[in-house]
Amino acid sequence: MSINRREFLKMAGITTILGIGGVSAVQGVRNRVEASQASRAPEALTAKRWAMVVDMSKFKSEEDYQKCINACHLSHNVPHITDNPKHEIKWLWTETYEHAFPGNEDKYRAERFQHMPFLMLCNHCENPPCVRVCPTQATFKRKSDGIVMMDMHRCIGCRFCMAGCPYGARSFNYKDPRPYIDGSKENLEFPTRMKGVVEKCTLCYERLAKGLQPACVEVSNGALIFGDLEDPNSAVRKVLSERFTIRRKPELGTGTSVYYII
């Protein structure tokens, strides 16, 4: 079969157009399905919108906080950087009342509340500013359950999300985090990160997929209550309907999913 240049170019053009069209059609379908929906294990914990209530009355000692923090940081290979506080990576940590709820200070409030450490974590906002500002969708809100996720392979490290987050929940890997992970305690089931990407709490999506509660909740002895905010019978909704709770910076309209009972 002979073919002249004109015909060849025509065919090449049509093939290219079909190829590009086909790829974008497949992409279109693929973008509508999330990995978590595509292959969900039967034992997976599911919710329309996950939320957490922190019951401060159940945190009695420094140890109670540290237990939760360790559980989180060990299961996610969070580097323990002590040589330079500017480079700290924190998923779960504590701040005293005045720093956790700035603008609500009152110098006559009882001393024990002034300096009470509160557990801080990503608030998994209903309307997250970090997701709004991210130029690559490396941080995104999972449609199925509202978790604000991180794709550390897509993150370009522009740190717009860190400027955007009003809760200081995000950490940037200013250096290679791996030397700061204790090799003997490394969790081989969770990836370590590389330098130059942002990370934060992802509400233990990997544990939920296996039917486990988040690591911090599991070890908290009931001080952390976890459940579906949209389910009226869930544990969190039950607490929220009975006890007085506060959230961080509600005036910003971010719709945080972490509540505190004082």
Binding site: P129, P135, I156, K195
Partner: protein, 396 residues
């Protein structure tokens, strides 16, 4: 036309190699940053943007300010700017290139930069910033090159350039507005969350950019046979004067709202920058240097008798430029992060490698600018000088 850049005197080559030297040093510093990560800078978990993003923000303003000579010339037929337009357009090109480089060196994972195009995200202001900046670069390259090429051949520029020029005039304020929106739409950062931020950005840009252009025009006149025109420089001086006054006025509006309302979140950053907060006062000296330079600039600019003296005008322009360079290229960005989301204070100061990288980006900008100006000036010297020569300006 590029061949004009490879013929030059001794002074030209010394300057080029000086810039290349700065670029080499900065490149080595960048290799160090590339290998170790952004931890080699002064940035932290709390102050997560620093010198790089500050310089980026300032330079977007310099790029946008090219419109201050292009607009009067093309929309108001203000002929005296005829010889300045090419300098304005080429300054814009160098400034946009520096902006892009400053974003690039600020990335934690620079090799993934194309993810911004691969995963376009219309809800992110950064996405629009990329669009408007690259668009503005293309427009200025195309317009500057075409108009200069036509001048060289002593023919009128092709008709299709005019609509592009009009587009570039509309485009210029957009690049700086979008840059302001990077900051002005972030909840919880009181210092940036102000509707007047884009207006402030434009006012400071239209003061700082033309101030730099005046200095460049004076240098071009001193070292070449091409004179951008005495009256053109004076007109530009008026633009600097008005925009600097508007800029200071806008800053005053911010201060009034913060300190009359007495809302702590609105006052904290200003207090930190100009007086220090809870014993932290690292930026206070440079912010006062900026304020004093602004004051000197305004005193020199406001009185026409002073402004008409070109030496004093040059001093005023240098004062304007450095005042705004500190205020916007540093204080504005760092200040937004102090105090942080927990009302705690972490201070920031750039490290040596960080400063060397920033200096190298500036050197690349000046290298581009020098080459472009060399081409433009060579062509003007040999072809256009008579056409728009001083004689004709005087005759008008």
């Amino acid at each position: 036309m590029l061949e004009k850049a490879i013929y030059g005197g001794r002074r030209y080559w010394v300057w080029i190699f000086f810039l290349l030297g700065l670029i080499s040093v900065g490149f080595l510093a960048y290799l160090y940053q590339f290998k170790s990560g952004l931890g080699i800078t002064g940035m932290s978990r709390d102050v997560s943007w620093g010198l790089y993003i500050g310089q980026f923000t300032f330079l977007v303003g310099v790029a946008a300010s090219g419109v201050m000579v292009v607009l009067p010339y093309y929309l108001h037929d203000y002929k005296k700017f005829g010889r300045l337009t090419i300098l304005g357009e080429f300054l814009a090109i160098a400034a946009v290139i520096m902006c892009m480089l400053f974003i690039f060196v600020d990335l934690g994972q620079p090799l993934r930069v194309l993810n911004v195009i691969l995963h376009p995200t219309p809800n992110s202001v950064m996405f629009y910033d990329m669009l408007v900046l690259s668009g503005y670069l293309m427009l200025n390259l195309l317009i500057g090159w075409t108009v200069l090429g036509a001048e060289r051949k002593e023919v009128a520029p092709p008709k299709w350039v005019k609509p592009l020029i009009i587009l570039s005039i509309v485009w210029a304020p957009s690049i700086h507005t979008v840059t302001a929106f990077l900051y002005a739409g972030i909840p919880g950062k009181h210092f940036w969350l102000t509707a007047i931020l884009a207006a402030r950005f434009l006012a400071s840009a239209f003061a700082g950019g033309p101030a730099l252009l005046i200095i460049l025009a004076l240098i071009v006149r001193k070292y070449t046979k091409f004179d951008p025109g005495k009256e053109a420089i004076q007109s530009l001086g008026k633009i600097v004067t008005y925009c600097m006054l508007i800029n200071v006025f806008f800053l005053g509006l911010e201060l009034f709202t913060a300190f009359y309302s007495q809302i702590p979140g609105h006052m904290h950053t200003f207090a930190y920058l100009y007086a220090g907060l809870h014993g932290h006062n690292q930026l206070v000296p440079i912010m006062w240097v900026s304020s004093i330079l602004a004051l000197i600039a305004i005193v020199l600019l406001v009185f026409p008798q002073i402004r008409k003296n070109e030496n004093l005008l040059a001093v005023a322009c240098l004062a304007t430029f450095f005042s705004l360079w500190i205020d916007k290229g540093f204080g504005l960005v760092v200040g937004g992060f102090v105090p942080n989301s927990f009302e705690k204070i972490t201070e920031y100061w750039p490290t040596l490698p960080e400063a060397l990288i920033a200096l190298a980006v500036w050197a690349i900008g000046f290298l581009v600018l020098t080459i472009l100006y060399k081409i433009a000036v060579s062509i003007k010297e040999e072809v256009v000088f008579d056409k728009y020569g001083e004689k004709q300006i005087k005759a008008e």
